[in-house]
Symmetry: C2
DNA sequence: GCATATTTTAACCAAATGGTTAATAAAGGT
DNA sequence: ACCTTTATTAACCATTTGGTTAAAATATGC
């Protein structure tokens, strides 16, 4: 097993695999494409990562981690609720504009991969929302926000952050936007989303 | 024995193709699976629809149509703004809960298929939002709602309606919800979404 | 400098896959 | 009945695909 040195080849493979898998998905990706993209022989892929599935798993895991870790850390921080919403919206928008194709990749594969595969990956990092739920209940009692379901609030925050990227080709087309216009609108949303959410729950 | 009136072969194929394509996507779908699912010989698929691509196109077109036609018709109707938002949220939630796997299928393929393929499909049905833009401008001048970008309002409405279904496996997992709990929450959202949107723009 | 271990490659291989063909069965028209 | 057209099938085929092998190149330790 080559776990010792020469990470450069391994890194080249991982970078290439990321590109190809995210672009084509597990089924659409070809090992030969990944090898070509990494500038190496196909057999080397199997030398470093024994199968397509194993290689995919590494890429998927990394992607899922990138998307999910921030949610948990911000939503469980000690910030005041509105600040939390603002921070989440801003930071999440940043992550996603830097990895615009990641969400669809992860969503797509989460729907397709068997349960066992996902179990393996999500084993421990189970986010907790207790902190947030308590915080929201407190604000409701204080009367600063409306009676709102914490779960649904989080779903709204995440939906508004991610979906526009996932549906970019749809929105661009049905709204007749050129890429520049679309990107301008996405930029507006970075600050807008938080205020939109806050306005919807503020009393 | 004469059995119960068998649906036409073409219909059987289309139904099977829908099932398989939506479950596995264009790349993951196997012609043999579609044939088996339809209870016919694989060659018959090519007899009715000459290639996998052509068959896929039919299924995709139908799915995209189902998802997009309603948007246009409701958003261009003559209802008052808030009613429009409520009607859209309700009807769209209905369409999607009846076809929960359709959005991801369409989104996924819209990101993968080449431009030419999509051009063919969206040729004419280009939605228009002029009506809605005017309506929103009017409400802003009347002072009933905040100064809000019509495009972003529509993006929000659609995002909140669709994304929770697309990300169902994610939400179920990170929020530790069993299928029943999740479905209850989705039901709440049917009415909640509209009020959430309205609250966020009401002055 | 040399033996050993690691990395990389070209050539293969078996299975799977979309698609074709030629023959057969069923329907329709006369 | 008989012929023509349409529908359906089993057997193939060419290509693609993930994966393997054995040999060559390169690095490593002494």
């Amino acid at each position: 097993m080559p776990r010792t040195k020469n990470t450069s080849t391994e890194e080249k493979i991982l970078a290439a695999a990321k590109t190809i898998f995210i672009e084509k998905g597990m089924d659409g990706a070809r090992m030969q494409d990944i090898a070509d993209n990494a500038g190496i022989n196909k057999a080397l892929l199997h030398y470093y990562f024994k199968s397509k599935e194993k290689l995919f798993e590494v890429i998927f895991k990394e992607g899922a981690e990138k998307l999910f870790s921030k949610i948990n850390s911000i939503l469980n921080s000690d910030l005041p609720l509105f600040e939390k919403i603002r921070l989440f919206s801003n930071e999440y928008a940043e992550i996603i504009s830097q990895n615009p194709y990641l969400p669809l990749f992860v969503l797509n594969e989460m729907n397709k991969q068997p349960h066992s595969f996902l179990e393996n990956i999500f084993g421990k990092n189970q986010p907790t929302f207790e902190n947030l739920v308590k915080q929201i209940d407190k604000e409701i009692k204080k009367g600063t926000i409306k009676q709102v379901s914490p779960v649904n609030l989080v779903i709204n925050m995440i939906s508004l952050s991610i979906f526009p990227f996932v549906a970019k080709p749809v929105f661009q087309r049905i709204m007749n936007l050129d890429p520049l216009q679309f990107s301008t609108i996405m930029d507006q949303r970075k600050t807008m989303n938080a205020e939109f959410i806050i306005a919807s729950i503020k009393k």
